[in-house]
């Protein structure tokens, strides 16, 4: 029946009509995941089976829907390694709020997914357990850091997955893998149980195959949580209510000045083509000027590394991972951390320590915080003139495995268009928008007003419709063994 290929909404319809049971969906997804796993290595581990059926389950909003969770989101009693050696043996005694919410909503965890160590990276190559491959081209990365989650959804192993997005870690891999990735407004989804990378930027969000599914899952994730002081108390609107209103009446801002350099030609052409289609369908296009965005990458790598250097200080060999034998305490710290952290994480801890150091704080951290404030003002002003800002998710389609591992700057530029939404706290979504001639997914990003996910999702749905990606998805070459009826 190919249940694993169905979207969340389609599965809900199939469940309602009695065509299938949660157990059948789970089995179908698990079989698809098992067959994809040797080729893409999206999962770190799988659950033993579906959770026991619940009495009241029929009415739960995500009843019977399997999902995958990035392994930096706590599930009580399950590993929470963040794909780092330093957390190799760690199992949290508590659930993340999103884990609790999804369980309450009836969703079924299928497994936990691979990621760049501590979510630091744009290719999943920084995983201590090895990279994930892109289901569209096994020689390419799925993007990162939520590469495992994006690949699992793209390979039709699960209808949705959770990712976390600190500088684009949901949207960029979603873009690389031809799926939808939503980073909600900062504070819209509780961070309780999300292992912190950069606390003021981290946000959990859904990765799905359709915009409507993203809205469905978002609706369950969002909302106040007293355990997270930065979680916003504002009520959550139903994002599905107006989602089908189409492009007509939408005003979309295009930051042309930002898009002059460094953009892959096919990415640039796709943007123009999609914009033209949106305009034909009744959307108004305006140009927005976002000069501060030029500083986004620099600002991001100062603030994110500063916070990371402090957030990751607790992994010191005293409580987690392997404790190195050493002659004194400082040496034990040094040896345990040197052994426990990978290269990129070490680099970022060092950078972050540096920018917070006495004598450098003002030049780096303070300055970056000020730039951040200006960026926020600038983007909020731009969004008062339009409903959403449109730009590519990433300057290039999925790149080859190994291509950027020795060039951190090139790697960092993968996030040039995504970090600004994190720095400014606004919601943003990556939507598949076409295929390159070589058959790789292209993706456009929409950035919206704070807490106006409903409007953002409506615009994203309009964009999805004019792009018609649902049909293009079928162009993906099946993985070896994929599509063989179970």
């Amino acid at each position: 029946m190919g249940l694993h290929r169905l979207s969340v909404e389609e599965l809900q319809a199939a469940l309602r009509s009695g065509e299938c049971t949660p157990a059948e969906i789970y089995a179908s997804c698990r079989a698809a995941a098992d067959s994809a796993q040797p080729h893409i290595r999206a999962f770190n581990r799988f659950e033993d089976g579906p959770p026991p059926p619940r009495g009241d389950a029929g009415s739960a909003p995500l009843h019977g829907i399997p999902y995958a969770s990035k392994e930096n989101i706590a599930v009580a009693g399950r590993p929470l390694t963040c794909n780092s050696r330093i957390l190799a043996n760690y199992r949290p005694p508590y659930d993340a709020t999103v884990t609790e919410r999804l369980r309450a909503a009836g969703a079924m965890l299928l497994g936990q997914t691979n990621m760049d160590e501590f979510a630091m990276g744009s290719s999943t190559e920084n995983s201590a357990t090895g990279p994930t491959q892109n289901p569209w081209d096994l020689a390419r990365t799925p993007g990162g850091s939520s590469g495992g989650s994006a690949a699992a959804v793209a390979a039709d192993a699960v209808p949705f997955a959770l990712g976390s997005d600190t500088g684009g870690s949901i949207r960029q891999p979603a873009g690389c893998c031809g799926v939808v990735g939503l980073k909600p407004t900062y504070g819209r989804v509780s961070r309780w149980g999300l292992v912190a990378f950069a606390s003021s930027l981290d946000q959990i969000g859904p990765i799905t195959r359709t915009v409507r599914d993203a809205a469905l899952v978002y609706r369950e994730l969002a909302g106040h949580d007293p355990r997270d002081s930065t979680c916003l108390p504002a009520p959550v609107e139903d994002p599905l209510a107006g989602i089908e209103q189409g492009p007509r009446g939408l005003t979309l801002g295009v930051p042309r000045a930002l898009l002059k350099e460094g953009l892959d030609r096919e990415v640039a052409a796709n943007l123009d083509e999609v914009l033209a289609r949106l305009a034909r369908e009744g959307a108004s296009l305006i140009e927005v000027d976002l000069p501060m965005m030029r500083y986004a990458i620099a600002t991001y790598y100062i603030l994110a590394t500063a916070e990371a250097s402090s957030n990751l200080a607790r992994y010191d060999g005293v409580r987690y991972g392997v404790r190195a034998q050493a002659s004194d305490l400082d040496e034990m710290y040094r040896a345990s951390r040197t052994r426990g952290f990978g290269r990129e994480v070490t680099l970022r801890i060092l950078l972050g320590t540096y920018v917070l150091s006495a004598g450098y704080y003002d030049a780096y951290y303070r300055k970056a915080s000020q730039v951040r404030t200006l960026m926020r003002r600038e983007v909020v002003a731009a969004l008062s003139r339009c409903d959403a800002i449109v730009l590519p998710t990433s300057p290039t389609p999925a790149f080859k495995l190994g291509e950027r591992v020795d060039d951190p700057l090139q790697m960092y530029l993968s996030d040039v268009f995504t970090v600004s939404a994190n720095l400014t706290g606004i919601p943003a979504i990556a939507v598949p928008s076409g295929l390159t001639r070589a058959g790789l997914p292209l993706s456009l990003q929409l950035m919206g007003r704070p807490l106006q996910e409903s409007l953002l999702l409506r615009a994203a749905r309009a964009l999805e419709q004019v792009c018609g990606f649902a049909a293009l998805r079928k162009a993906r070459q099946p993985l070896p063994g994929e599509g063989v009826p179970a």
Binding site: Y94, W192, S229, S310
Partner: protein, 487 residues
Amino acid sequence: MNASASRWEAVIGLEVHAQLSTRTKIFCACPTQFGSRANSQTCPVCLGLPGVLPVLNRQVVDCALRLGLACGSRIAPASVFARKNYFYPDLPKNYQISQYDKPLCEGGQVEMMVDGHPRTARLVRIHLEEDAGKSMHDQTGGTTSLVDLNRCGVPLAEIVGEPDLRHPEEAGAYLTALRQLVRYLGICDGNMEEGSLRCDANVSVRPTGASTFGTRVEIKNMNSIRGVVAALEHEIRRQGKLLDEGGTVNQETRTWDPDRGVTVFMRSKEHAHDYRYFPDPDLVPLHVDEAWLARVRTQLPELPMARLQRFTAQYALPVYDAVLLTESRELADYYEDLARTLGDAKQASNWMMAEVLRLLNERGESIGRFSVRPPAVAALLHLVKDGAISGKIAKEVFDEMVATGAPAEAIVARRGLRQISDEPSLTAAVDKILDAHPGQVKAYLGGKEGLAGFFVGQLMQATAGQANPKLANQLVRAALERRRSPA
């Protein structure tokens, strides 16, 4: 005083950490009780497990606001929690959440009594932070260290004083006043031995009369007010001697060794940490509005210095007595309760100073646990006032009240201590005595008036000491006068 002490003037500033007595910790719901089994009062938040987040306990803010308002500090409408980054095994996150460049309270002052005179010392700031755990190192030569994280996340107010103190005794008075204040406010039990009040001292010396500061040394590990005074005395002597000998004072941290009575080098300024403070992104700025302040203000008790002044004015108490009676809120309440019930502030204060404080001292008890409450004492003192018992008997009765818990009346009745104040029967007894001693009567009437005491003594003997002494005296003299032949 040696020559060195007069040439050099000390400049002292204290940093006091007060453990706030909230039921739960500052960023989680764990209990704060002292002395529980190691690591039993912990949760994922105070253990700093991956993925957890702190949530500020607003009771902690209430406590700090009480202190800030009591000291007349400026309360910041928005203050910020920062991370103080350093590695240590008793700090599970390897950073401490502490207010840094935007503290809750700035300025203000501590009012204190130095040698019976009121003085003030200014505050720099009062800020909130979380406590760390406790490391216990193997003292037997082994290399094992154990960590107890129960204290991790216990709320602290750090009270940073200006360098306004000039003598170790002033530092002692400052700490005494601060401890009294936090106890009055009910925000800290003030117990220095248990570490709920901790003090670090910064001290430098300079030529007497100079206006610039010398190089300052920080002293740690003093766990009593007496220890602080002793450590400062030693350190000031040490610095003075160094300078006298042409040496220089190094900026360093020293630790007080109470057994040897000396401060010992710990670390130099060069080895000071770079704490890499930055605002904690897990916590939003703390906003305190007027309504919050107004609510806390209405909860403030009368402060110790105000109460002291009122006691001297309202009850005409000497400063010395007022200082003692306002030492704690409970003692002052006790006194006022007694004075009110008795309707005699003077008699109440005399009794407090002479009897209650004596017994508390003897028994090593605090007034809160003292079993005889003011109404019972007032009942006793009413017996004295009414002449039913003498002041001397009252002390005996009081001791028994404390020992047995019985009311004064019952003790007096059971032991037959009531004075005989019945005039006719006493007069009859006096006449009998005079009849029995005609010689002495004659002598008295002949001018030996000192013999009145003899007759009173006889009367007391005849009444087994229960005759009201004042009345006995009166009646004896009257009876003797009656026997004088009319001139």
